[in-house]
Subunit: 468 residues, 2 copies
């Protein structure tokens, strides 16, 4: 993507102030203001912009690390897990009752029960001592090991004791009934879990069952976060005249954590080229993705564009997205790492993060999985695709819109809403307010997206609210 | 809730084997088996059981701890957050343009623009140096501080420069237009966040804006987890004959983490009364909730019932729930702490955990919030109710069922399903298999709940799949 010469050189104080039709903008350099045409402000839809970034990105797969099973929840599996043994390792009863030969019970009824000799009390955690012969039964608890010769279990409820050594079976069982066979759950050699699986409680349980106390997972992607702006001070400082506290470092770090990444906070830089470039250049060595939340003025955006271009190639890929809030978003790639220029407004910054940075984190996991799995996988199962979808899927609820919302066609609008429950139904009240207000954020429970092609939504419409 | 004498005294070897209509069961003591009537097996619905537990529980509020803002995401706010200053601390422009007196622009048009003298270039992070007089304008970037005298900002797009000192304004602005007033976002003294709020990226941002570098949050509830069963060995040990590895400690610990609690793993105990009682009794000193995953046999359940009863009062409140899988669930309270007896089957254990333990964790946060908020809150806002709902809400997707599922009326059935995407629509394939199989867990994406009053669901029905 090319930028005209006029957008460059914000550090060149000799350039004259210029004004042009089609939207002039100006930048605040050390000495004052400068207007440049914004014809390079070549606005893309959200989907186009994301596609451009993800297609241009040559993903370097994440390294693999071993973590203890108690720290593995939520991590992404980095190798296929094969079973080295049968689960269960022996045939087990699924009921409290009697292990029997099924054929001994055929035809048994309440009136004409099968009469079996009790030859053993099988204990949990021990193997049966005797082989079962025809006409015999062994008491067995749920989970107990079936004796040799037995092929089914009778539930205690379908028996009566005649005496201590004799049981009456009042209902027949089929061979295999109430039994989990050796290897029925998992057969030795079987692939139980595929690379790329997000480890939930279930997978953790399966890993424990197979004796995996440490688990190979992908290193978490590192997201470097820089706040820029001459007016920004750290939150523990009292803002002086004209200053405000840094919000985005903290809200974006929390967002990074929530999508399986580790935030690396780079602090605050001024709006000058060198102050923005230096921390980003250093972060390129250690981070997997870089996020700069700009000052809100065009001047700062120009600096960020310039730095991303110079740190490339390819540098800036997208500048401007048909999105509200978040139009001035910048997407680029430097040294095979995605770099995101986010608006300074906290609401806009978070919207752009969730639409572009989060999918990039998911893509990094996906590509890492695909590259690792390639050598070991035979089959065509791609369970992980779906699981990644879930990783990135937000919780949603359906609600009725309480008032009309208008939207400019050709732009994707994200409207913050507050939910209330009325007669068992959710109603979504749009939270109005200028986009820089943090109070609109904390009052809202989520957002409603008005797609590109819509001019708005009517009061009473059923809408999907993405809880955020 | 009373239990007949016959359910007690599993350690009494003199008790005779007994059998009774209505479902006999037997217990495996050190010496062998014993049958007892199960009339105390007074089965409740899931909702009844949860109500009984939560109503009987005298919740002791969680302590409050201070955490750094970078570690506060996902935690629960333990004090109301009042603003000690205005946000923003000064009137700011929301556009790149010119600060003006609105009245100077009234009537301005493209053909007949207002002509204003540019008296200052306002810099980010600094206060304007001059007071604005009628007929004057000051260049201002987005976020810049409004000069005294100005009451609106004109967007750069609606201006032309005549010369370096003179701007033509081609469109009128109303007073307050393109300005965020001092304190418009948050007014000093206002309560911004209420106790009980779950801290998302937004709240983290709001806390940073107000200068809160540390945040008062509730201590995470501690969930003690004990696996019982003579046949259970740790996952790093090779199971001997008749033995299997401990699954539940690890899958339940992962579940505890996912609902905002800290797991305390107590290890594995044998099925004997003393071995179960001792670790639970010790854990009552430190844990907030206790979970015992039983061996699957009735014998172990009897021991767990006995221990919970003896550690009370009130001890066991519910034994048996109209639920599949998970019928043998035990709910009790000992020394004001909920104690849960979970079935040994991994699938059943996780189902019971999510239906009873997780809501108890949420209740603990809710009650802690209510007790803390009581003294400081005047209003009736209870935003936290909804937020807690979200804390405990699972992600769901709608899907079509690919085959009929039958269910016994009077029982809530949880059916594990695997999702597939076909022509843009999710289909849910029931994952069949005995309830002890871990392979059914890892193959599934979630579960479909068939309520009490249903006899099943037809193929093609639209069902809500709870992703787990």
């Amino acid at each position: 993507m090319s930028r005209p010469e006029s957008a460059r050189g914000t550090s060149d104080p000799s350039r004259d102030v210029a004004s042009a039709k089609g939207g002039a903008h100006f930048s605040s350099g050390p000495g004052g203001f400068r207007c440049t045409v914004e014809s390079y402000f070549d606005v893309k839809t959200v989907d186009q912009a994301r596609d451009i970034l993800l297609k241009a990105w040559k993903v370097k797969p994440l390294d693999i690390e071993e973590v203890h099973i108690t720290a593995a929840a939520g991590r992404v599996l980095a190798r296929d897990i094969l079973a080295c043994e049968d689960v269960p390792p022996f045939a087990r009863s699924t009921v409290d009752g009697y292990a029997v030969m099924a054929k001994d019970t055929f035809g048994a009824t309440e009136a004409l029960p099968a009469i079996l000799e009790i030859v053993e009390d099988i204990r949990m955690g021990a193997m049966p001592e005797k082989n079962l012969l025809s006409g015999q039964a062994a008491r067995i608890p749920t989970g107990g090991s079936l004796p040799c010769g037995a092929d089914a279990c009778v539930m205690i409820e379908h028996t009566d004791l005649l005496d201590d050594r004799t049981v009456l079976v009042k209902k027949p069982v089929a061979p295999g009934e109430n039994v989990i066979h050796k290897g029925e759950d998992v057969t030795s050699g079987e692939t139980l879990l595929l690379t790329g699986r997000v480890l939930r409680a279930f997978e953790i349980g399966a890993l424990a069952a197979l004796g995996h106390v440490t688990v190979p997972v992908f290193r978490r992607p590192r997201v470097a976060i820089l706040s820029t702006g001459d007016e920004i001070v750290p939150p523990d400082k009292s803002p002086g005249p004209g200053q405000i506290r840094d919000i985005n470092t903290y809200s974006l770090a929390a967002s990074a954590l929530s999508c399986g990444a580790i935030p690396i906070t780079l602090g605050i830089s001024s709006d000058t080229y060198e102050d923005v470039r230096q921390p980003l250049e250093e972060a390129l060595d250690t981070a997997d993705l870089l996020v700069v939340s700009g000052g809100s003025s065009v001047g700062t955006r120009d600096v960020v564009v310039q730095v991303i271009s110079d740190l490339g190639p390819p540098g800036v890929l997208v500048h401007g997205v048909a999105l509200k809030p978040g139009k001035p978003a910048i997407l680029g790639i430097c040294r095979d790492k995605p770099v995101f220029g986010l608006p300074g407004h906290p609401v806009s910054a978070l919207t752009v993060f969730s639409l572009f940075v989060k999918p990039a984190v998911v893509r990094l996991y996906e590509k890492s999985s695909a590259s690792t799995a390639h050598n070991t996988r035979q089959g065509s199962e791609t369970a992980f695709d779906l699981h990644f979808d879930f990783l990135s899927r937000e919780k949603t609820v359906m609600a009725r819109l309480s008032r009309n919302i208008s939207s400019a066609p050709g732009r994707e609008d994200h409207i913050r809403v507050r939910l209330r429950l009325e007669n068992g139904e959710f109603w979504a009240d749009p939270v109005l307010g200028k986009s820089g207000l943090i109070s609109t954020l904390v009052k809202s429970h989520g957002e409603v997206v008005i797609p590109l092609e819509y001019e708005g939504l009517k009061a009473g419409s059923l809408v999907e609210v993405r809880l955020t």
